[in-house]
Amino acid sequence: MTVAPALLGLLQSGPRHGYDLKRAFDERFGQDKPLAYGQVYSTLARLLKNGLVEVEHEPGDGPDRKRYAITEAGVSDVAVWLATPEKPEPYLQSAMYTKVVLALLTGRDAADVLDAQRTEHLRLMRELTRRKSEGDLADQLVCDHALFHLEADLRWLELTAARLDDLATSVRG
């Protein structure tokens, strides 16, 4: 989960109210999925409990009267998180593969399954390509990340299409 370290990292530039923090997160990382306020405050509560942030109270009522500041421990936590590589997805549980095998097992046309999937992948790739063309550098990088993954899926679809006869023999025993 990247929300907690991302919020911490955003606090490193200076203390913020919960609302400002949510807005900063959404602007930079919330492309299709803005953070819920509940998640912001529950995450901040956890960070507070773990000594990674501290609260500067301002006069007045309500949660937005609290300004959150990162602690030394929080700065170290961000550094450790940045230095730790993300575990690559294993991609070994694939619904696409399951569909192809089941199509073959049930006597359906597996090539149709692959074609339908290709069409759907390309539809999304067109949408991302359009968005990328109209967006700023941040949009371009986020869309490129998605496009490269979709492209990898499509290469798998092509390879599988070329091996369908062999796969059919193997699956049907």
Binding site: A111, T119, L122, M125, R126, S133, E151, R155, A161
Partner: protein
């Protein structure tokens, strides 16, 4: 990036007359094409329609017949049987001279390695199709320079292709393909020799410029990220077009 194509060619080299479409709206169509190279079957009942102004990606594995189909559609190859029609005219029934004239006036081409004339400057390369169409040297070069500016490579105008980078060379090739305002541009792996970043820029500019001029694009590619610039894709496998999916 500017959004309108250079206009000078409109005065010096008007776009070809509207060739018309079939009742189904197709500008260009392959009907049941068969073609073999010796014992190797390249096309086996391939049929396809290209509509005015659309960007169509021809996808498929290596050796599937997609480039052969493009060459038949462009009138470069003649199929063993079947017909290619352009605006209702049968390309396959035309003489070589007629097909050459059609390619010069109404089609544009972008290949993987640019295929620019190494002895000419980039501006002269872009001007070449206009010169062949009878446009005077000064006007043709002026229009060529406008196109190079449109594709953001004005600095290469007086350089020879060998003095440019791969990405610059492909932009010159795109300018040359569009300078006569063709009805159809055929592109065979236009970014195949470029890295991701340069490939992206070339595709963005190519598709934007083609849409501005109203040209249809037939784009052969095995790269999904390139195909994502199209309006729809057709997949060629074992010499047949497996499907046509409307976006």
């Amino acid at each position: 990036m500017t959004t309108s194509p250079p206009a000078a060619s409109a005065s010096t080299h008007p776009a070809p007359a509207d060739p018309g479409t079939t009742p189904g709206g197709a500008l260009l169509a392959a009907h049941d094409l068969h073609l073999a190279f010796g014992p190797t079957t390249a096309l086996a009942s391939a049929s396809l329609e290209v509509h005015p102004g659309e960007v169509l990606a021809l996808m498929g594995p290596s050796g599937s017949g997609k480039s052969t189909l493009l060459h038949c559609l462009a009138g470069i190859l003649r199929p063993d049987s079947g017909r290619v029609t352009y605006g209702g005219r049968d390309l396959t029934a035309m003489s070589d001279v007629e097909r050459s004239a059609l390619r010069r006036s109404e089609f544009g081409f972008v290949f993987q390695f640019g295929q620019l004339v190494p002895e000419l400057t980039c501006a002269e390369n872009v001007a070449l199709p206009l010169r062949l169409a009878g446009v005077g040297r000064r006007d043709a070069l002026g229009t060529a320079r406008e196109w190079l500016t449109r594709l953001e490579v004005p600095d290469v105008a007086d350089k020879r292709p060998g003095q440019t980078s791969g990405g610059q060379g492909q932009r010159v090739a795109v300018a040359r393909a569009l300078v006569t305002r063709p009805r159809v541009v055929f592109a065979d792996e236009p970014t195949g020799a470029l890295d991701s970043l340069n490939g992206e820029r070339v595709m963005q500019m190519f598709v934007a410029a083609a849409r501005d001029t109203g040209a249809a694009v037939v784009l052969v590619t095995h790269e999904a990220r390139v195909a994502a610039y199209s309006d729809r894709e057709a997949v060629v496998r074992d010499g047949r077009v497996r499907e046509q999916v409307r976006a």
